[in-house]
Amino acid sequence: MNPAPPNHAAPAVEYPALLRVVVQPSLAEAREASRKMRDFLAQQGLSEDELQTWELAGAEALNNAVNYVPAGRAHLPVLLEVIAGTGGVEVRVTDHTAGFDMPGKAELPPDDSEHGRGLFLIQTLTDSAEYLRGGESNVLILRRASPSLARRPPHTVAALEATLAPLTEDLAASYESLSAIFQFTSELCHTDEPLHLVGKWMQELARITSADWHSFHTLDASREWLSRVVSSNDEAPAIIPLDKALPGLAVHAIVGRQDISFNAATKLAPEDPLASLARSSSGIVHPVFIGGEVLGIVAFGRHVEADPFTSGQINVIHTFADFLGSQVRMTQVQREAVASRVFHRELEIAANIQQSLLPRKIVQPPGVFITGEAQNAKHVGGDFYDVIHVSNNCVMMVIADVMGKGVAAALFASILRSQIRARMDLAERPGDMLTWLNRTLFADLERVEMFITTQIVFLDVSRRTGRVSSAGHCPLLLASAGGEVMEFQADGPPLGIVERQHYLEQTFILRAGARALMFTDGVIDARNLKGASFGLPALREWFASRASAAMSGPETKRDLLRTLDGFRRGCPASDDLTFLLTCDMNLALTRSSNATQNPPRR
């Protein structure tokens, strides 16, 4: 902090930098303003000594402007303006005081005076101090040459043009980018295949940024690798594994969520999928995020002998790539929405088919009550049941579960139902019926790698007998009036597994009050929120108790549904739930068996 040399001419100010601060009239605000002035001048490159000088001179000027303002004008702010140019610094302080006459040379007060040094400091620290008095306000103008500013490169027109040139270039590139985005959006509205446009517009972006090569990879649904969408170069990898153990430009960009720049000096890992593309180039890998989720990466590069991308070109790449990413994501969302609509429509069709397979009215042989239930889970499967009139005293009951979901499963259920009804000559021999069905459907099922579990019961109420055969289906439960439950296990694998399978059958005898339960695995696989399944033992126990209690057929059906609902306790069904319940109303069912390979288990 040195006094200004005497007789120094006030410097002219050229191409100035300007600070303007409105100061509320308080001493604390005045001090804060002088700090801002110091910071501003520091940014202009003034030396520490110059900064201390101006901080003190400015503080003194502002203090005077605040201290001497009359009460009636105390609400009016003080204006501080600082102008820094090559010639030096000019500070203007506009006050609303009554003003004073600036002495030609302020003298120091007596040594023991507590006041009167402000003007002396102002004049001593600056080259010139003018005070212009006005009607409403006055302006104190301080000037001081600045050796630091004088050493700074002059702000000539040429220098300004040099500064403006890259800005102009960036602006032009931004304009091209914006223009391209508008054009892209327009074309997007007139195409059914927006992804086809991506390649074209990546080329356009490469042209705007003067890139020699480019590539665009998007994250696969598995989120384990990036798949190439477009590339200007065959060396771009088709896939890039997102393996953190194999770091590379792409992994670094995505994990770090930031651009990765590279040039000829960058050491690329040999296993980096982008190494062959990026080698001998300069450029960037830019991760594209949509809503915080990674969508993929774009990479742009130039041959090493070319200049690297400018910041403006990088900005263009950011802008356009992020826009392109949002369009790709939007396309993906639209496709997923279409697929979802198709899927739900398929489910509707499947549900309609499945419902059409169920008998509208169940045939009721004399003395027996038969009832069925079929509930679809979220995804419609191939469950169905059927009760077919054979003669006055005989019915054939079928329950089946086609492996798989949707229309295909429903169609196979439909075919199975038709085939069974086409061979009612085999109704009395369920084993033969299954053997024939297996041979008939085997080729079709094998081709689509599907299978069907099926259980068929032929019931003759006049002879008080039944015959059951099962192709890989859940066991038939037979409960006596006393609550004794027997299981009739499967007689062979599901239809569609073994081409020349011969299915045997088992025979049982009817007794009064007995009941039979045919069901699909949706019944015993019903799960609660803890993930536990209802299970066969619980079903057996439930069936025994209801039989011994002589619960009516309709009530038994309702009770089973209530029991399963109570077990699930709000847990949604994960599989179709289908069962067929037969209750003897006056006869007993007793079991006898013909020769069978799978004797019932007690």
């Binding site: 902090m1 001493l27 604390a28 001090r31 503080a59 003194e60 203090n63 040594d111 400091l121």
Partner: protein, 101 residues
């Protein structure tokens, strides 16, 4: 600011600024801490980064407070910035300035 007593001396230190908005309060606080037995006041300005004319006025005021009872004011280790303004205003001639290593 920290004020402490060392025998007949009252020491004020850790004064970061003596400007127009803080100097009157510093002055008044020191005056309030002065007891009749204090014959010396030491202003430690080693941490003072900015002093303006109001700060100088406060220093003069404190000197005038000590003088009537035969006491002294001593400026201890002023920073170069503060020393420059003391010299610029020629107060270095009338103040007892002590620099220690």
């Amino acid at each position: 600011m920290k004020i402490s007593t060392s025998g007949p001396s009252l020491n004020a230190s850790q004064i970061t600024e003596l400007n127009s908005s803080t100097a009157p309060a510093v002055r008044d606080e020191i005056r309030a801490a002065l007891k009749p037995e204090h014959t010396a006041l030491v202003l430690d300005l080693s941490a003072t980064k900015f002093v303006d004319s109001s700060g100088l006025g406060a220093i003069i005021a404190l000197q005038k407070t000590m003088a009537p009872k035969g006491g002294t004011l001593r400026i201890l280790n002023p920073t170069p910035t503060v020393m420059q303004i003391l010299e610029l205003t020629r107060l270095h001639r009338v103040l007892d300035i002590v620099r220690s290593t």
